[in-house]
């Protein structure tokens, strides 16, 4: 049974629709990320789930109970905020214990649980300090401590690491992941950082203009993006789309993007031939390689990034970006020959922007392996 269910949840502020008919089902103990650019409605969705904001229409269920009108405390959720929101006049211990105090727990119980929480977050030495005496990372750990001390049913994270520097962000990401593994509490995490989303989530809901564009595992949103929006939003570097046409020659069907020709496999051929309408195609950078007898392309940009080199190129009829292993010596403005592994091509309906499923069932994991 899903622990959290959103049914046609919408939220407007005046004439501005921030969330439009969001449907979402989150299972018990799942770690779900809401990912999208700023202004896509992900934080609003989180606030609606947490009870800090009221839905305009639709329903939110937790454990089968409709919770639309319940306060956060009655929904049994805890939240970690982007700006930490620690109480500046309270010590670390008081900050962590405040919700227990409100609940009416005894002094002894508060002390015990605050200590246990602080120990698990490596905060014991800081218990008597004030928030202003802590670093950003320490403050965020206190905020997490405040959330876990009361053992809630759901954790909500609102871009908790976006104020931290890159190294610390990576470290905190690891801590949250371990925390989730240890406590097994259902968690919803909001971020605009796709790397963060891909690295910590069981499933990712990719949002755009108040709607969920795709809700799937990190593998799936990367290798089988539901729409062109997801395809270009997820993955670095950003991939290009090229318009294609199908052409049959001596028993083989090709997808043609100008000069480039990609022979299609059985499944692709079957699905695409029966699909009416115009098509776009794309491919992830790692499925392109240099090949002496491949397509001749013009190199527009070369970016060595250490373990790989990113190469943007174009030909008459399309453009793409390749991720070549190691440091490859290529010059901008020069020509090179490349080959595409056409089994990995992604095909989209140009009118709707939706993915056309050309993967055989069950082949995804073989592909990833």
């Amino acid at each position: 049974m899903p622990v959290i269910r959103l049914e046609k949840v919408a939220k407007s502020y005046g004439a501005v629709e921030v969330c439009r008919a969001i449907d979402l089902e989150i299972a018990d103990r799942e770690f779900v990320t809401l990912l999208g650019p700023s202004g896509c409605g992900k934080t609003t969705t989180l606030n609606l789930i947490g009870g800090l904001d009221q839905v305009t229409s639709g329903s939110i269920f937790m454990d089968g109970r409709r919770v639309n009108d319940l306060e956060p405390i009655d929904r049994d959720v805890a939240m970690v905020f982007q700006n930490y929101a620690l109480y500046p006049h309270m010590t670390v211990a008081q900050n962590i214990g405040f919700n227990l105090k409100l609940k009416g727990s005894s002094q002894d119980e508060i002390r015990l649980r605050v200590r246990a929480t602080a120990e698990s977050l490596d905060l014991l030495a800081l218990l008597e300090r004030y928030p202003s005496e802590l670093s950003g990372g320490q403050q965020q750990r206190v905020a997490i401590g405040r959330a876990i001390v009361r053992q809630p049913k759901v954790f909500l994270f609102d871009e908790p690491f976006s104020n931290l520097d890159a190294a610390l962000r990576n470290h905190m990401r690891g801590e949250v992941k371990q925390l989730h593994a240890r406590l097994g509490v259902t968690s919803i995490f909001v971020t605009h950082d796709q790397e963060e989303a891909l690295s910590i989530s069981d499933r990712i809901a990719i949002m755009r203009e108040g709607r969920i564009e795709q809700f799937a595992t990190p593998d799936e949103v990367y290798s089988r993006p539901a729409t062109t929006y997801v395809a270009t939003f997820i993955g670095h570097p950003r991939i290009d789309l090229a318009p294609i046409q199908l052409e049959e020659r001596s028993g083989t069907v090709y997808a043609k993007a100008g000069k480039a020709e990609f022979p299609l496999n059985q499944t692709q051929r079957h699905v695409l031939s029966s699909h009416g309408g115009q098509l776009d195609a794309s491919i992830r950078p790692e499925h392109i390689a240099l090949a002496p007898r491949g397509l001749n392309v013009l190199i527009n940009d070369v970016q060595p990034v250490g373990p790989a080199t990113l190469v943007r190129f174009a030909w008459d009829g399309g453009s793409a970006v390749a991720r070549l292993n190691g440091m490859v010596r290529l010059n901008t403005g020069a020509h090179a020959n490349v080959a595409f592994n056409s089994d990995h091509l992604l095909f989209f309906d140009r009118a709707t922007g939706k993915l056309i499923n050309t993967h055989e069932q069950g082949t995804l994991h073989e592909i990833l392996a």
Binding site: N83, A85, Y87, K103
Partner: protein
Amino acid sequence: MVLALALFVLLTMAPFVWLLLSSFLEQKALISTPPDLSLASFTLANYREVISSAAQLAKGIRNSLIISGFTTCLALLLGAPAAYALARLNVKNKDLLLLLILAAQMFPAIVIVIPLFIAASKLGLIDTRTNLILVYLSFNLPVVIWVLRGFFYSLPSGLERAARIDGATTIQTFRWIILPISLPPLFAAASFAFIEAWNEFFLALIMTRQNAQTVPLVISSFAGQYQTIFGQMMAAAAISIAPIMLLTFLLRTTILRGFADGLLKG
């Protein structure tokens, strides 16, 4: 810039300097033209006189302390929650209420003193401290609400949201989170209310006879029909502003921060 500020300080300080100076001068030296500022005419006699006939002044100070103290406490007790509600909560007709509160203190005292006097006398409150407390409260409360509302309005909402997640009710949030972080503006509002009540002359003059006389009235009594003993009057004034000076001096940083928070961001 520095020069302008220095000039401003000089201008505002001059009356105080003159007050202090004349409190140490003999009457004869004071009323001669020009005043005789030679060392010979300096004396502590004025202070001795004022303190030896201290019964009146002491009563005035006690009345003023009680009246100003109660006015200040009540203004904060009522004003702080009102200001918070008007700044942060969904209150019906909020704008109208704010306008009314502002309008309430736009009437000069002289306009409403007669109705106030009649009301007070019907209630049997003439020449009581209770009456002055109520009257001062009605003048101070709007200002306290406006100053504090400006501060509460400018607070980021993060702490309230965190408190709500922690399970705090609105009143608990106000009591445990908002009030403790609002000490500077609370001090500023308190010092404003206290000083206003302490210094007020006109209403006290109309509303009291003997029992509830406040310090400014006692000081003015040194001005008689046939002669005014300037030196003693100034000495009494110097003594009466001492508590305020002390208060302001001790809390100066807090008060400054409070006014900056409340007024500038409001």
